[in-house]
């Protein structure tokens, strides 16, 4: 399993989750867990996803997510989960 974390940060608006999930499903990326908070108008969503069956290389997926986010003035990124484990778990 190739686990990665998708983070979406920016101003809250209608359809953020739908847009990101649609893009992920288009590329055969399975969502394992979602958590989302809105602080004042500031939206942050974190998804744990499995990219093992992803239809495009990781770099391409990252670029498409970033571009999709940019259209809505959101900061969307995907990173391998290991980096967070390394930094926050002994």
């Amino acid at each position: 399993m190739l686990r990665a974390i998708v983070t979406v940060i920016g101003r809250d608006q209608v359809g953020i989750i739908a847009a990101v999930c649609a893009l992920l499903s288009e590329h055969q990326v399975n969502v394992l867990d979602i958590s989302q908070t809105v602080l004042q108008e500031y939206f942050s969503m974190i998804m744990l996803v499995d990219c093992s069956d992803c239809s495009v290389p990781f770099a391409q997926l990252a670029e498409r997510l970033r571009a999709a986010g940019e259209e809505r003035s959101l900061d969307v990124r995907i990173q391998r989960e290991d980096i967070f484990n390394a930094m926050h778990r002994v």
């Binding site: 974390i5 290991d82 390394a86 930094m87």
Partner: protein, 452 residues
């Protein structure tokens, strides 16, 4: 699953606090590239570097993208060239530097280290030829870095080498005068040089190393600064704990990236260098960390103590986070590469003498310091001798990377650009050391070097 707060914390460190991997450095042994025909030796050197480091940059970029962590530099270090070139029948070692430069260009790395000689006890013929070639080699190449180890705690200080390096630095500055003496920014004079240093300009691949190894240099002064900002007025116990916790996290990331690079490149993992390496960017400064501890300005009284705490806590936090720690490991205090240091020198608060004291408690030495262009070679040699004495007696690495900026005097600024930043020209003491330096010979190793 990792919680939201931790994930956002990491992203904040990368986006706002300049958290990055400063360098992935591939060490490459060139020992078996020696050949009596210098042309053949250069061909072998070029081929060997290109063959080993071909995939270094693409692999580094892939890791950078997948983990979302910037890897600022991908670099190469090689066996000290004096050891390889010594076998060749030639007086001129500049072509060896040119071969390194071409290979670095072909591999897409910005610096290659190892135009080096280890002369702490004495010179071989190859060492002498290499030192003679340093000024022309640094002027003729773009990416080559040079270092010379002139002292060690075991052997003492080779004062003939110290004198020679003062002259080499002056000559390098003269040959690269158009660029503000830029060549000197790529030349380091060491005491107790380490064999697995991933940081430039002092990196070389030591003779005790394997054929090839991956070393990682982490960074993160901004992250430490930010962590300390959250605990104003706290006791030093708490300051040390906070630095340790932060260093642990930064190092874990370095370890992860190093292991990943090593497995993708099929090259053994060497070490993580636990250094806080500043950049000229605002918010990425070691000086500002010291000021956050409560000093009005870096360079005032209390600076050495603050740096001692920082340096020690970084090591303690980092050492458990990595399987192998090495390199220089500590806090760097390069003047031109640190926004806070530059400001402190400009304001007159930070002097060369205070910097010398600071080097007693941190990882390297007088680093990226510009002095007036008319500083005599003997004075530069004497500065080197002082630093080498600090390193020799305290059994630590010290270094001098000094730029006698051609045509500049105190108050002027030399601009190098990029990560090398810009340096205000600092005054040196006017008293001559010419007679002292001209004595030559070797300053004996201290008594406590006899540990067996």
């Amino acid at each position: 699953m990792i919680n939201t707060h931790e994930i956002l914390d990491t992203i904040h460190m990368i986006d706002q606090e300049h958290l990055d991997i400063r360098t992935i450095t591939m060490g490459v042994s060139l020992l078996d590239c020696a050949h009596p025909d210098p042309k053949e030796a250069c061909r072998r050197i070029y081929d060997r570097i290109c063959q080993r480091a071909e995939r270094l940059v693409p692999v580094g970029e892939a890791i950078e993208m997948e983990y979302g962590i910037p890897i600022v530099n991908k670099r190469i270090s090689v066996t000290p060239i004096a050891l390889v070139a010594g076998c060749s029948e030639t007086e001129d070692y500049t072509p060896f530097a040119e071969a390194m430069d071409r290979a670095a260009d072909a591999c897409g790395v910005n610096f290659i280290g190892g135009f080096s000689a280890l002369v702490h006890k004495g010179f071989t013929t190859g060492d002498r030829r290499l030192i003679r070639a340093i000024p022309t080699a640094l002027a003729a190449t773009e990416r080559v870095c040079s270092s010379v180890n002139v002292a060690s705690s075991k052997a003492g200080i080779n004062m003939d080498a110290v004198a020679a390096m003062g002259r080499a630095i002056k000559e390098t500055a003269a040959l690269t005068a158009d660029a503000g003496g830029m060549g000197c920014a790529k030349l380091v004079v060491f005491a107790n040089a380490v064999e697995d240093n991933p940081f430039m300009a002092g990196a070389f691949h030591g003779v005790g190393e394997a054929e090839c190894a991956i070393h990682v240099g982490v960074s993160g002064p901004g992250v430490v600064h930010h962590a300390l900002k959250k605990i104003p007025g706290a006791s030093f116990d708490e300051v040390a704990e906070t630095v340790k916790r932060t260093a642990f996290r930064i190092t874990r990331m370095g370890q992860l990236v190093g292991m990943e690079a090593s497995s993708r490149l099929g090259v053994p993992f060497g070490i993580v260098d636990l250094s806080l390496a500043p950049t000229p960017a605002v918010g990425d400064s070691v000086a500002r960390i010291l000021e956050e501890m409560g000093l009005e300005v870096c360079g005032g009284h209390g600076t050495t103590a603050a740096l001692a705490l920082l340096n020690d806590a970084v090591k303690k936090g980092g050492v458990m986070a990595s399987s192998h720690v090495g390199g220089l490991s500590g806090a760097f205090i390069p003047v031109s590469e640190d926004e806070g240091m530059i400001a402190a020198v400009r304001s007159g608060a930070l002097s060369l003498d205070k910097l010398e004291a600071m080097t007693c408690v941190c990882s390297v030495g007088l680093d990226m310091i510009a002095v007036p262009g008319d500083t005599p070679a003997e004075t530069i040699s004497a500065i080197i001798a002082d630093e080498a004495a600090v390193g020799m007696v305290n059994s630590k690495t010290t270094a001098v990377r000094i730029i006698p900026a051609p045509g500049k005097s105190v108050g002027d600024t030399v601009v190098f650009g990029g990560l090398l930043g810009s340096a205000p020209v600092m005054p040196v003491h006017p008293g001559s050391a010419a007679v002292f330096v001209s004595r030559g010979g070797r300053i004996p190793a201290p008594l406590h070097s006899l540990k067996n």
